[in-house]
């Protein structure tokens, strides 16, 4: 049996007496689309920070495929194929769109150490960057400076940066957050168009997206994994409804979906 693309065992993290993650055990088989949902403060972003190495766990281990990556630095994990995007855009404000993605491609191809050859000679890298941008409809905007882009396109660029690393596992932190309805079409197309070679885990509050893109859902509450299953199973799980019903006013969509799928 092949190892899952990404798995964690007994992951735990606390800040003083605040437990942000406890006994997290997750297995993501290759190519599957996972959604990670849960109320605010459940520890979803913390989990991503633990997986990517931005936070060091107090206990537990993380495996990427066969390899134990628990002790690896964040950039090492990226080089092995574990990449994330940010809930709030973390881009390079004064670089152009093309420069940003080219930067990532050059780093991936290990040419970023060379300082004697000019960028103009690296046509492979530039072309690859351009292709990625084109696939995400950012081609025409490639020479615009990042800070001048509309928010929706910045969100797309956020994904483009991640894709340029040729990830095996992609962690999307609320990819649609803050994107107005008019601009989200391209974004959804981008997410739908993600290659089946990539295992995707995305945090989302928008239940439309969850039901559209995820084949499995993980629910986190208070730093622990509550349950896991297909979207339909989760929607009809009474424990999940209990967790969410307290926030019925905010998660109207979930309410509607839950009631729509209830037996």
């Amino acid at each position: 049996m092949t190892a899952p693309a990404l798995s964690t065992k007994g992951l735990a993290k606390r800040f003083g007496s605040l437990v942000v993650a406890e006994d997290i055990a997750i297995d993501l088989p290759a190519g599957v689309r996972y959604a990670l949902i849960g109320p605010n403060g459940a520890g979803k972003t913390t989990l991503i920070n633990l997986m990517t190495g931005m936070l060091r766990p107090d206990a537990g281990a993380i495996f990427l495929g066969e390899g134990d990556i628990t002790a690896l630095s964040p950039d090492e994990r990226v080089r092995r194929g574990l990449v994330r995007t940010y809930q709030i855009n973390s881009l390079f404000p004064h670089l152009t769109v093309l420069e940003s993605v080219t930067l990532v491609v050059c780093e991936r191809r290990r040419v970023a150490q060379t300082w004697w050859r000019q960028l103009t000679a690296y046509t492979h890298e530039i072309d690859e960057a351009y292709e990625i941008l084109n696939a995400l409809t950012l081609g025409p905007a490639c020479h615009r400076v990042t800070r001048e882009l509309p928010y929706g396109q910045q969100r797309l660029l956020e994904i483009a940066l991640a894709l340029a690393t040729r990830p095996k596992v992609l962690l999307l932190d609320e990819p649609a957050a803050g994107v107005p309805r008019e601009e989200s079409k391209d974004l959804f197309a981008a997410i739908a168009g993600l290659s089946r070679d990539i295992t995707v885990l995305f945090i989302e509050h928008d239940m439309d997206l969850v039901f559209r893109f995820a084949s499995r859902v993980i629910v986190m509450v208070g730093g622990r994994v509550l349950t896991e299953g297909t979207p339909a199973e989760i929607a009809s799980d009474p424990r999940v409804r209990a967790v969410y019903l307290g926030k019925a006013r905010h998660d109207g969509a979930l309410q509607r979906s839950l009631s729509g799928l209830a037996p």
Partner: protein, 329 residues
């Protein structure tokens, strides 16, 4: 502005950035003017060239990698003393002196870069300040080596390339300094337009994101810091060789702070900012050399406050903004 979607377009953008612009060529031609127009000021011109090189070295780490250093004069001083001591103890050949200075300063830079690369913000500023002050104290205490307050005596620079004698008027000194400046400038320019240069800008723009895209930012910072240190060392060596004098204030905090002012005045992150800043600052200082030092520092203080409040990207930044406004219909 319409962009074609052919795959030629992307690389063209990078090509257009790498090409030498007419205004740049004009600038470098203008640096030859002092030979013809200001022959009495060639010593000043050579000081300006040296300061410009020093500022360029700081721009590499500050303007391009975002490292605020309050102790860059340390490398200038190491290079200066390396060349000075070499000359004092018998070997005054200028070009090899430069190499020795680059190696000495580069080694110190490389060693400290391991500490520097791990920090940002206040801790980083403090560390650069701390290293600079430590070196100053060391140099002070090692008076037997550095000459202490009296300065290093006995520097005698041999003929350049075995042929050009350093004359009193400063012809050879300026030609020498200018040539070294130009060569290293071209080097820096190539570096900025390389993939490494792009990574440096990434570090400056968003330090936190770099590891998240798989970039070994610390290794990059160590590399550029070492290169910058070596370059500052070469500038210091030039000073020692062309003036044949050297004192402790070449590596003092005042020197580091002054350099920061020069670079910011011209505009950091634009390669030419340090050069422009050096020209303006040194000419102004020469004009007002009669004033008491504290009054000079008063106006520098006012200048700093003004630049930060009204011209945050320095003179070149301000010009760029104006140019952008004019070109918009």
């Amino acid at each position: 502005m319409a962009l074609t979607q052919s795959l030629d377009a992307p690389s063209l953008y990078f090509q257009s950035r790498t090409r030498w612009r007419p205004v740049e060529i004009a600038f470098w031609l203008a640096t030859l003017l002092p030979f013809a127009l200001f022959p009495d000021y060639l010593t000043l011109a050579s000081q300006i060239a040296i300061t410009a090189l020093f500022a360029l070295s700081l721009d590499l780490i500050l303007g391009y990698a975002g490292i605020v250093s309050l102790g860059h004069a340390a490398f200038f001083g190491v290079g200066a003393y390396a060349a000075g001591l070499l000359s004092k103890y018998g070997w005054g050949e200028p070009l090899t002196g430069l190499i020795a200075a680059a190696v000495a300063a580069g080694i110190v830079g490389y060693a400290t870069s391991f500490v520097i690369c791990r920090f940002r913000h206040l801790a980083l500023i403090m560390l650069t300040l701390g290293f600079g002050l430590m070196l100053e104290e060391l140099a002070n205490s090692a008076g037997w080596l550095t000459g202490g307050f009296d300065g290093l005596q006995g520097i005698a620079t041999w003929k350049l390339l075995g042929y050009f004698e350093f004359d009193l008027y400063g012809y050879v000194a300026y030609a020498y300094s200018l040539a070294v400046l130009f060569v290293l400038f071209v080097f820096a320019r190539r570096l900025i337009h390389s993939p490494f240069g792009l990574s440096l800008r990434g570090i400056r723009e968003n330090y936190v994101r770099m590891p998240a895209i798989g970039a070994p930012s610390r290794a990059h910072i160590r590399t550029i810091y070492t290169i910058s240190a070596a370059m500052a060392g070469i500038a210091g060596a030039l000073l020692a060789q062309t003036t044949e004098t050297l004192s402790l204030d070449s590596l003092g905090f005042e020197r580091s702070a002054e350099l920061l002012v020069i670079l910011v005045l011209g505009g950091a992150g634009r390669l030419y900012g340090g050069l422009i800043g050096a020209v303006i600052y040194m000419v102004a200082r020469d004009r007002f050399s009669g004033i008491e030092p504290q009054y000079w520092y008063f106006w520098i203080g006012v200048l700093l406050v003004t630049v930060v409040m009204f011209l945050p990207n320095g003179i070149l930044g301000g010009l760029a903004k104006l140019a952008a406004r004019w070109s918009r219909p």
